[in-house]
């Protein structure tokens, strides 16, 4: 294992030897390595957000037939730096009657929870913070801490719209967690382990080929979990003023923003780990560092789909969102689980060339059946009329008749 094949492992080894050479104990050297790794991880993820915000504004600008940021630096690439510098000089407005501890803790928690997820993601074979045997449960649990940040923000703000946004957030995230975890049981089933490293290593065939429906369910629910469009009811500005972050200003508001973007990228990373084979790719056995390149290429593609979805789809109504989860995704994910478990049992030991078509066919059949059922329900449902009802008028004789076109000729 030379330096060029795995610079990360080589650098860690070199640093450890250097520290021990200075007379530190093995444990102290390990602690310093952890500290350094943690600072690099946290700093790297926050620095990545700067680029993500720019990329997203640029792409959405193009989708909407605009140029996007293009003034600060080449292609506007320093726009986010300018924004950061400006937001530093903004006043923190703390409204009257806020609950100080949750109000101030919420933005920090929103970002910290996402960085915590980064700690268990395997970027290459050797490059990861910690390979937990309960990695998947950990990811779910830490994701829930981020939701708690939103609840704390809504409750602490002493604003009815913030509270409404927070309750919507809880209802949405709590509901979508169910199909999400059920869909994630399929990679777990294939790997026989909850550890993210083992799940990646088990994907000689990418899981998206074995369980495309589960991948779709995970993709949709993870977008809902982050609360991005089309699931951004949490911050529906047309109904809730701004949502849970309404009373925040300056960098505290900025931190919610950072947490949002970072979380969106993180779920793209998780999608890569669970369904796109993580760091797997050609020549990765000889040169492990290539894995990080593959990993980020795959993640960026997933994130791009995420951005395009945000640009293309309108926001759901809350009853549509709940119906979609409880009456479509949850039963569908349960049937995917049952069908995949059965198919896995029946075709275990056969070659991949038999297994993949079987799984693809079963998933396609399931999707077809679900679509037919949903269509039948939609056809049978009584529809409300789109005409507004006649309203009582204070002075009916002065009412403007619709056909007179409001008095304008």
């Amino acid at each position: 294992m030379t330096f060029w094949q795995d610079p990360y492992a080589a650098a860690v080894e070199w640093l450890r030897n250097l520290l021990i050479g200075w007379g530190l104990t093995v444990e102290a050297a390990q602690l310093i390595l952890y500290l350094a790794g943690g600072i690099v991880l946290a700093g790297g993820s926050l620095a990545l957000v700067i680029f993500l915000i720019w990329a997203e504004r640029k792409i959405i600008g193009r989708v909407q037939d605009r140029l996007g940021p293009n003034r600060v630096g080449p292609w506007g690439i320093f726009q986010t730096f300018a924004d950061i510098l400006k937001i530093f000089t903004k006043e923190y407005i703390t409204p009257n009657g806020v609950d100080r501890v949750p109000y101030n803790l919420a933005p920090v928690l929103a970002v910290a929870a996402v960085i915590m997820i980064w700690a268990v993601v395997p970027f290459t074979v050797t490059l990861y913070g910690a390979d937990l045997s309960v990695g998947l449960i950990y990811v779910m649990a830490v994701g829930a801490i981020g939701e708690m940040g939103i609840v704390m923000a809504g409750w602490g703000s002493n604003n009815k719209f913030a509270l409404l946004g927070a309750f919507r957030a809880v209802a949405q995230m709590v509901s979508y967690e169910i199909p999400m975890v059920i869909a994630l049981l399929i990679p777990v089933m294939m790997a026989g382990s909850l550890s993210l490293g083992a799940i990646t290593a088990s994907q000689a065939v990418w899981n998206i080929l074995i369980a495309p429906l589960a991948a779709l369910i995970f993709f949709i629910t993870s977008v809902a979990e982050v609360g991005r469009a089309p699931f951004d009811l949490v911050e529906a500005e047309s109904e809730l003023v701004a949502g849970f972050n309404i009373e925040y200003s300056g960098l505290k508001f900025g931190f919610f923003f950072v947490g949002d973007f970072l979380h969106a990228f993180t779920i793209a990373m998780l999608f890569t780990v669970f369904f796109l084979g993580g760091w797997r790719g050609p020549f990765v056995d000889q040169v492990p560092i290539l894995g990080a390149v593959y990993f980020f290429i795959k993640t960026s593609l997933v994130y791009l789909v995420n951005i395009l979805m945000r640009a293309a789809l309108p926001r759901f109504r809350i009853d549509q969102m709940m119906d979609f989860n409880w009456k479509y995704l949850t039963p569908l994910s349960l049937s995917v689980l049952v069908v995949t478990a059965l198919a896995d049992k029946l075709t275990l030991g056969l070659s991949a060339w038999v297994r993949i078509p079987v799984f693809l066919g079963l998933n396609g059949l399931l999707f077809l059946a679900a679509s037919v059922m949903v269509n039948r329900r939609a056809i049978n449902r009584p529809r409300a009329e789109v005409v507004s009802r006649p309203r009582p008028l204070a002075r009916p004789e002065t009412a403007v008749q619709p056909e007179t076109n409001g008095g304008v000729s």
Binding site: L31, I93, P95, N96, A119, V120, L163, W326
Partner: protein
């Protein structure tokens, strides 16, 4: 096995510390001129009325209760999924029975109208 969790502790402390540091930097550079108008809850320029923390629709509680039910069921699924390949046919049949019971409950909840939002 517990030493696996040290990096998590380190990263947690770094993340929280970094968050507080950045927020504190904002205190350092930003002005601080509170007025009565700024302190009022923001409601798009309307005069705020009523209290900020009000009662919540009961539907949210219903969703929360359903979530707990399903989450506990997922807790049973997780170990089953890990060892599925070693379990043999009995494990599969047992879990299908479990899913069947769960589906009966799900259909009951659905027909009772607990999943309707309006």
């Amino acid at each position: 096995m517990l030493e696996n969790y040290y990096p998590l502790l380190v990263i947690l402390s770094i993340a929280v510390f970094l968050g507080f540091l950045v927020v504190a930097l904002g205190v350092l550079f930003g002005p601080r001129r509170p007025t009565a108008r700024k302190g009022a809850p923001y409601e798009s320029g309307m005069v705020p009325y009523g209290e900020g923390r009000r009662r919540i629709s009961v539907r949210y509680y219903l969703i929360a209760v359903l979530f707990i039910l399903f989450d506990i069921e997922i807790v049973f699924f997780l170990p089953w999924a890990v060892v599925l390949r070693q379990l043999g046919v009995e494990g599969l049949i047992g879990m299908f029975l479990f899913v069947g019971v769960l589906l009966v409950g799900f259909v009951y909840v659905w027909k009772k109208g607990a999943l309707e939002w309006e």
